[in-house]
Amino acid sequence: MRSPISRRHFLKTSFFAAGTAIAGTSIAKAATSADADKEPLVTLIDISRCIGCEECVYACQDANAHKFPEPEKPFPKMYPDRVPVEDWSDRRDVTDRLTPYNWLYIQYASATTKEGENITLTIPRRCMHCQNPPCVKLCPWGAAKQEKNGLSRIDAQICLGGSKCKDVCPWDIPQRQTGTGLYLDLLPAFAGNGVMYKCDRCYQKIKKGEQPACIAACPENVQTIGKRSDIIKMAKDLAKEKDGYIYGLDENGGTNTIYVSPVPFDQLVFETGKGKPHMHPVKDTMADGSNLAIALAIAPIAGAAAAVGKYYRQMKEEA
C-alpha cells in the first residue's frame, strides 16, 4: 500500500528533473529518428541498481491517472453468475501488485549470491512488451494494438473486458476493471465485463520524444530505453561485466524488456499469483501459429496440384 508520507515529492524535485534532462535526449533521438521505424524500443532493467523506493510506481500512477477507469456503479448484473465482478475502484492505492490502477509494482525477491550472502532484490514488474504480443495479436476485437516502436497497449474505448489478453499473456499482465467501457453500451448482461488495463509504455510521452514516466523518475537509473540492437548489446555487456543473468531476450519469442540480474532467475524466490507475475522461462506462445502459416501458404498449391493430377489421370484413361 502507498505510504501516507511519500518520498515522491521530495525526490521529484531533486532527481526527476535531472534524470529527464539527461535521458530525455536519447529517447527523443531513438523515438523520432528514422531508425524508430525499423527497430523497436527496448528497456533494459538493471535489477542490481533498484533500491525499491517505488518512485517509478508513483510516477506511473501520476502520469497515467487520466487513463484510469471511473466505473459507473452499481454495475449492471451479468449472466451467468460465474462472471466475476472485478472492482479496484475503491482500492486505487494498492501498489503491491498489478491492478487497473497500478500498472507497475515492485516485486521483492530473496536470493543467495554466489558468495553465499542472502540478499533481497527489488524488481520493477509490468508488461514486458513482447515482440509478437499474443495479447494484441489474439484480441478478437482489435482493441489491443502494437505500435511500430514495439509498444503494445489496450484501447480503453474498444476493449470489452473479456480478459482474453490476460489468458494468453504468459505473465497474466492485463488487469480488469468492471463497470466501464464499450460493453455498457452493448449487451452488458451477456457480453463483456469492463476494460483491461496495463502498462502502455507511456505512448503519449514516447510520441513527444519524452521518457516513460517510470524511467524518468527513477533516482538510480535502473531502466534504460533505446533501440533494440543498442539495448541488447548493452544488456549483454552488463551481464558479462557483472557476471549476471538475462531475462526477456528470448522469453515468449523475445520481449522489448530485458532484465539483468546478479542472481540466476530460477533462484529468485518471490511471491507470484494474481497480479504478481513469475519469471520462469517462457516458450514462444505464437510459434504454432507462425509455423502453421507455412501450411496455409502451401494449401492452395496442394489443392490445385491434386485437381490437375486428377484431370491428367482422367485424360489418360480416356485416351
Binding site: P80, K137, S290
Partner: protein, 158 residues
C-alpha cells in the same frame, strides 16, 4: 465418371463446422457460457489450441476450395467427353455464388490476419479492426447462406 459429391459434402461440412466453432472460440464466450465445461469440449476455452486448430482447418479448407474450383473448371472444359457429369449447361446456383463470395472474403481477410499475426508485422489499428469485423461479417454471411441452402435443399450447381 460419377462425381463423388457425397464425400466432398461430408468433408466440406465437417471442415466448415469445426472451423466455425474454433473461430467463435476466439471470442471468450465458451467458458463464460459453460460450453467448455461439457466433457470433451474443454479445448474450446484454450485459446492457443483453438487458434492452431483454426489455422490447420483453414489450410484444409483453402486446399479443398482450390481443388474443387479447379476440378469444376476442368470438368466444364471437358464436358464433351463421356467421363464428365458436368456439362456446358451446368451453372453455379445463386445461393452458391453467395457462399463463394463469403468464402473468398473469409479466405482473403483470414490470410491478412495470419500475416498480421507474424512477428514484426504491424498493421494500422483501423486495418486490424476492419479485418476482424469483415472476417466476422463474411462468416455470418456464409453460415446464413449455408443454413438457407440446407433448409431449402439448394445445391451448389444446377
Amino acid at each position: 465418371m460419377v462425381y463423388d459429391f457425397k464425400s466432398r459434402r461430408i468433408m466440406y461440412g465437417l471442415t466448415l463446422f469445426f472451423i466455425a466453432l474454433s473461430g467463435f472460440a476466439q471470442m471468450p464466450i465458451f467458458k463464460r457460457y459453460y460450453i467448455a465445461d461439457i466433457p470433451g469440449l474443454g479445448w474450446l476455452a484454450q485459446f492457443f489450441v483453438t487458434h492452431a486448430i483454426h489455422y490447420a482447418l483453414a489450410a484444409l479448407l483453402i486446399g479443398f476450395c482450390a481443388y474443387v474450383a479447379l476440378d469444376y473448371y476442368f470438368a466444364r472444359k471437358n464436358s464433351g467427353t463421356k467421363k464428365f457429369q458436368i456439362t456446358e449447361d451446368t451453372r453455379i446456383s445463386a445461393s452458391a455464388w453467395v457462399k463463394i463470395a463469403a468464402l473468398c472474403g473469409l479466405i482473403i481477410t483470414g490470410c491478412f490476419m495470419v500475416v498480421k499475426n507474424l512477428s514484426g508485422i504491424y498493421f494500422s489499428h483501423g486495418v486490424v479492426i476492419g479485418l476482424d469485423l469483415l472476417h466476422l461479417i463474411f462468416c455470418m454471411l456464409l453460415l446464413g447462406a449455408t443454413a438457407y441452402t440446407w433448409v431449402r435443399t439448394r445445391s451448389w450447381i444446377c
